[in-house]
Amino acid sequence: MKVGLFIPCYVDQFYPQIGIASLELLQKFGCEVSFPMDQTCCGQPMANSGYSHLTGGCDTNFVNNFSEFDYVVCPSGSCTMHVKEHLHSKENEAAATHIRKHVYELTEFLTDILKVESIEGNFPYKVGMHQSCHGQRGLHLSQMSELNAAPFSKPEQLLSKIKGLDLVSLSRKDECCGFGGTFCVTEEAVSVKMGLDRIEDHAAHQVDYITGGDMSCLMHLEGILRRQKSNIKVIHIAEILNSI
């Protein structure tokens, strides 16, 4: 199975360890993984700001980089959702369609495609799970609290297999952290307040780590935690799942 690793632009440059963990994890489960070197950005920042008409170039570049794979896998619910919902190509719509139908967020790829039953891993800490909104409500990686429907969580299903990991139950289990792309700077006051409140919920449950599938949310929370000089750390779920 040929897998194209799609690493969000900011993860590539600020959090290389997440790319490494994702790559190793996929290889561990037998995938033939490549990272196309000419990938840049999926174009979501422009689209969410109202400039989707300027994302054609990003789309073309994305299709050029990822058309040859069976699957495209990304350690971000948000970027995955953007590609899944908005990737089109004037030059090669068939390839764009193939990618839209075969792009997966990392944890759902592990649970749904690779059908991972067990993971060797050891992470003896108290952990709070921050489910990103795009991953949850956009990709249905877990059940949202708004619906009258049976609960499930693909990331938590994986985390439950990690030795020593103590997953806490939050008071507001799926409230947005306030990152929101450009929102984090255009609505700075509300964005930070939302982040502070999310952290407060995790802190009240005495977590050592806040984990999640989207580093953008975690980067925002980490920024606040570091300013607070808090002992709570953030860690991407790929790093926990690859902890051996």
Partner: protein, 463 residues
């Protein structure tokens, strides 16, 4: 009424200066959201009810012409006088003409977001008519000369201490007496007198039934009934999307409305008005005010399904932390942000951006309006129509040019470090806003792509 014209983020920043109040506002509304969850999750067929309601409203929006004609004919048969208003101004003139015909200068009004949308109170005040709002929350904000901050809970931005001060000033209640029972009784006494002396009563409409020509008004305080039953003239104002085809459809909507709004199984009063009682005059003003334009916008027509329950506001993490007034529109929160640009794109261009697109609104909505997708779509429209700053457009163009071309991307930032200084999600904003209350991650020694290239070279060399 004071009109807030500063943009959402600025107003929200001011709201956030009082941390305790923001916490209280957030927790109060989260409590309402939690009550909604409890109530909704106790109904096994809840999701099917939402789907049914959404489908009924689809049918209404697709056949609105026929239903309006049917409703008008039936209502007229029942002895109701029907008026049609193309916009807010015409609506206000019609209401005023009815009041003027009866030679009165005072009117009692129960909750109607439509009249807020049309700025009826201001219009009538300018024309010498005094309006008393009889919904307790609206009564409070009216005394304070403020607009409602929430469509179901108009005074939710106020604490009981604020209400006490307001009543002390306007109704002469005991200073510092914050007892809700005492304060409510003071309002009740004041309003009893109003109900008894007003000859004209105006109410909103929650549902208008095409099949029978009747309309239903839902309140918890019975204030609509008090006003309408004691007055000689009852005026009911409705946006045309309030129609439902048949009376039996109320069994879907009445189950959804109060549960979504406050977690109650049903509102205390669901009053059906079908014909005027002997000697009474009953009017219905059916208002367009931009609704047919919205109906014609394919991407946004779903917004007209709204039954004004306020669930999207209660669940919205941004609304809870910015307050209803920061939306400078009669209807605040997520639903307001998709309705307002239709009324005035320039004035409301900021609202679709006052969201993280978390999607919670869409999933509590009892009529399944795709609210967060519409927020995204409004952003695209507003940019195309030129309502975003040109500096932002320039920055976006530059950003997309770099990101579209891997070669330029590599050159633009030495060793692919373009993103580090130009985080795409911060386009057109320098990092100051980020740094105000947050740190940036420390740059690692090498990027993932550098590590990957190195590894690839190593394994190639081994071979």
């Amino acid at each position: 009424m004071k009109e807030n014209t500063i943009d959402h983020s600025h107003a929200a920043a001011i709201f956030n200066k009082d941390v305790e109040r923001v916490n209280w506002h957030d927790e109060t509304l989260w409590f309402v959201r939690s009550k909604r969850d409890k109530s909704a999750h106790a109904i096994p067929e809840w999701e099917a009810l939402r789907e049914t309601a959404s489908n009924i409203k689809n049918n209404v929006l697709s056949n609105i012409h026929d239903y309006l004609v049917e409703f008008e004919a039936k209502a007229k048969e029942n002895g109701i006088i029907i008026h049609w208003a193309a916009d807010g101004d015409e609506h206000n003139k019609i209401v005023h003409s009815i009041i003027a015909k009866h030679g009165v200068t005072q009117m009692v009004k129960s909750k109607s977001m439509l009249t807020e949308e049309c700025h009826l109170n201001e219009y009538l005040a300018e024309n010498g008519v005094e309006v008393i709002d009889s919904d307790l929350g609206e009564f409070i904000v009216q005394l304070r000369k403020e607009p409602p901050s929430h469509i179901v809970l108009p005074a939710i931005h106020l604490k009981k201490e604020d209400v006490s001060d307001t009543f002390h000033e306007h109704l002469g209640t005991e200073k510092g007496n914050n007892d809700p029972q005492y304060l409510t009784e003071a309002a009740r006494k004041e309003l009893r007198d109003t109900f008894l002396t007003r000859k004209v009563a105006l109410t909103g409409v929650n549902f208008a039934v095409a099949e029978t020509g009747e309309f239903v008004v839902c309140t918890n305080e019975g204030n609509a009934d008090m006003g309408a039953h004691l007055a000689d003239v009852h005026i009911a104002c409705m946006g045309f999307e309030k129609l439902i085809p048949q009376r039996k459809h109320l069994s879907v909507f009445l189950r959804l409305l109060a549960r979504s709004a406050t977690g109650q199984p049903i509102t205390t009063f669901s009053s059906h008005f079908k014909k005027p009682r002997d000697g009474q005059e009953m009017h219905i003003v059916i208002v367009d005010n931009g609704r047919s334009t919205q109906l014609g916008r394919e991407e946004f027509r779903n917004s007209l399904k709204c039954i004004r329950c306020g669930a999207c506001m209660n669940t919205c993490p941004v609304y809870r932390r910015s307050g209803g007034h920061s939306y400078h529109n009669a209807v605040a929160g997520p639903i307001g942000s998709i309705l307002a640009p239709n009324l005035d794109m320039k004035k409301n261009a900021d609202l679709p951006f006052a969201s993280t697109l978390c999607g919670s609104c869409t999933n509590v909505c009892p009529v399944k309006i795709d609210i967060h997708d519409q927020l995204y779509k409004w952003r695209q429209v507003l940019v195309k129509e030129g309502y975003t700053p040109s500096s932002k457009t320039m920055a976006m163009k530059g950003m997309s040019a770099v990101l579209a071309n891997p070669t330029v991307f590599k050159i633009a930032g030495k060793a692919g470090r373009f993103v580090m200084k130009n985080l795409p999600f911060m386009v057109n904003n320098n990092l100051n806003a980020w740094y105000k209350q947050r740190e940036m991650p420390a740059p690692p020694e090498e990027s993932f792509r550098e590590w990957y290239a190195k590894k690839a070279k190593e394994s190639k060399d081994k071979k």
